[in-house]
């Protein structure tokens, strides 16, 4: 069974007037990095946000099913809170809270009821996010005082602290310099051993470098999905080929 599977997934915005995602059928495998690529406005971010029901914040309407470990997360009986603990998200612009590094990471676990062992949770999360060495002696400093790359890794650590199984990343490197980008890409390779990773990127080289599977979205539809090597070398659809070769972006 795939880790995530979408069946007839449709998302509508603005009271139904905008059809953001059209009949997407897709499977995402566990412990793999799946990249979502496509031109601006093609629906890849909408798809990503459908996986942890964040589209609801913008008043979107979703039909169809999204199965995570076989359970439809859109079933009214399912708990959105538990879902978002299981499926973490990192955003395009690093958004640490205006608190200390420690408090940023402890935020999630504290709210969910954890009281003891907070120090080790913070340390573990920072280590997994490859940030511990840089900030171990500065945990009390305000997160906003750190560089963009550090802040983004902090956001990753923060997401890891609530113990997810899946991590969604929405163009996590687009606001960062090449060195920070490289570090995060390295990090993702390590993380995939424990987690399932889905990453939206508009940088095709990044998708080719980093991912195991790639999905190409175009005007709200999923045109192609498959092993990254195949998609980049022998795409089935002409439009995929055009995008990959840079005919349009």
């Amino acid at each position: 069974m795939s880790k995530i599977e979408t069946i007839d997934l449709n998302v509508y915005y603005r009271n139904g007037s905008v059809h953001g995602l059209k009949n997407v059928q897709m499977k995402i495998e566990a412990n793999m990095i799946t990249a979502l690529i496509g031109p601006s406005g093609c629906g890849k971010t909408t798809f990503l946000r459908a996986l942890n029901r964040m589209n609801e914040l913008k008043g979107a309407k979703t039909t169809g099913k999204v199965l995570v470990d076989g359970r439809n997360i859109y079933d009214p009986k399912e708990d959105v809170i538990q879902l978002r603990k299981k499926v973490g998200m990192v955003f395009q612009q690093p958004n640490p809270f205006p608190m200390s590094i420690y408090d940023n990471i402890a935020y999630g676990p504290r709210i969910h009821g954890q009281k003891r062992n907070m120090d080790s949770v913070v340390e573990e999360s920072l280590k997994k996010a490859a940030l511990w060495d840089e900030v171990a002696d500065r945990l009390d400093e305000n997160a906003l005082g750190f560089s963009g790359g550090q802040q983004q890794r902090l956001c990753i650590a923060r997401a890891l602290a609530v113990n997810p199984e899946i991590i969604l990343l929405d163009e996590p490197c687009s606001a960062l310099d090449p060195i920070s980008t490289a570090r995060i890409e390295e990090l993702l390779q390590e993380l995939k051993q424990e987690y399932t990773i889905v990453i939206v990127t508009h940088n095709m080289q990044q998708a080719a470098r980093v991912s195991d599977y790639t999905a190409f979205f175009y005007m709200g539809e999923l045109l192609e999905c498959g092993k990254t090597s195949r998609i980049f070398e022998r795409p089935d659809d002409k439009r995929t080929e055009d995008y990959i070769t840079g005919r349009y972006g």
Binding site: M54, V80, I81, N95, L144
Partner: protein
């Protein structure tokens, strides 16, 4: 050539008017200060009024503070709750726009009308009588729009990114508001509260009609007791006192009132500057 002199003249005239505006403020404060400082003494501040124009203003000071206290107890939770609803939960519909409209309406009601309402509704209709409770509630009605506005503004300034980050961690909406949004917004909210305090402490008409004659020589022992206040005391002595004792006390009380008001304003200003610096982050 003529145009240049005309320009210079007009510029001079404009700057003169600007200076007049500042001048006026200082004249008023200075005048009150010079005339009032003579009346200020430890006894003045610690004693109660005695036979109209003697004694001190202790009950008046305490009374004003109590009135402001009751007022804030009413207006702050209600205003903050309304602001949270408007900023975080309210859908874009008729009800929401009416709420905003009516809050603005309330801001435009002259204070004497609020005083009249307090008199008719709180004092008589509800039977609370002329009291600390009636005065405090009426003041609360008066400053409610300001607590709502200031809180809403402060909440709206919190970046949406923080909310998204929190929700994506599986935190519920209210907890997100409590732990992230309000924590970031509270300096702005407090500034709004201080603003309301400043308005309430100097308000005379409302208090005159609902809280007491201003000359009380006792401290309020319960919410139903009438209560003294600085502004009404000044009013009474200024308009009905003709001896120099009366006038000097009126000046003294005015000075204390201005001092309290300035303290609140300066505090609010300092807080606002710290807030601006904090929201700028550590960059």
């Amino acid at each position: 050539m003529r145009i240049e002199t005309e320009e210079k003249l007009v510029k001079a005239g404009l700057s003169a008017t600007a200076l007049i505006s500042v001048f006026v403020l200082f004249i008023v404060v200075l005048y009150i200060f010079l005339n009032g400082i003579g009346a200020i003494s430890p006894e003045f501040l610690r004693e109660a009024p005695y036979r109209f124009e003697y004694g001190g203003i202790f009950p008046q000071i305490i009374g004003s503070l109590c009135l402001v206290g009751v007022c804030l107890l009413f207006a702050v939770p209600l205003g903050l709750a309304s602001a949270i609803y408007l900023a975080e939960y309210a859908p874009d519909n008729m009800i929401t726009s009416s709420v905003r409209f009516f809050v603005e309406c309330l801001a435009g009601v002259p204070s004497i009308v609020i005083g009249l309402f307090g008199l008719a509704f709180l004092v008589y209709y509800l039977g609370i009588g002329v009291s600390l409770l009636a005065g405090g509630l009426a003041l609360g009605f008066m400053i409610l729009p300001w607590t709502v506005r200031a809180s809403e503004e402060a909440i709206k300034t919190v970046p949406q990114a923080y909310r998204e980050a929190s929700l994506a961690l599986g935190v519920t909406k209210w907890k997100t508001i409590w732990h992230v949004v309000l924590k970031s917004a509270y300096p702005g909210i407090i500034t709004g509260i201080l603003l309301g305090m400043g308005k309430a402490i100097g308000e005379t008409a409302v208090v005159l009609l609902t809280a007491g004659s201003g000359l009380e020589s006792f401290l309020p022992r319960s919410l139903r007791d009438p209560v003294a206040s600085l502004p009404v005391y000044v009013y009474m002595l200024a308009t009905q006192g003709h001896t120099s004792e009366a006038l000097s006390r009126a000046f003294g009380a005015s000075l204390v009132l201005i001092a309290l008001f300035l303290a609140i304003s300066v505090f609010a200003l300092v807080l606002r500057n710290r807030y601006v610096k904090k929201m700028g982050g550590g960059r």
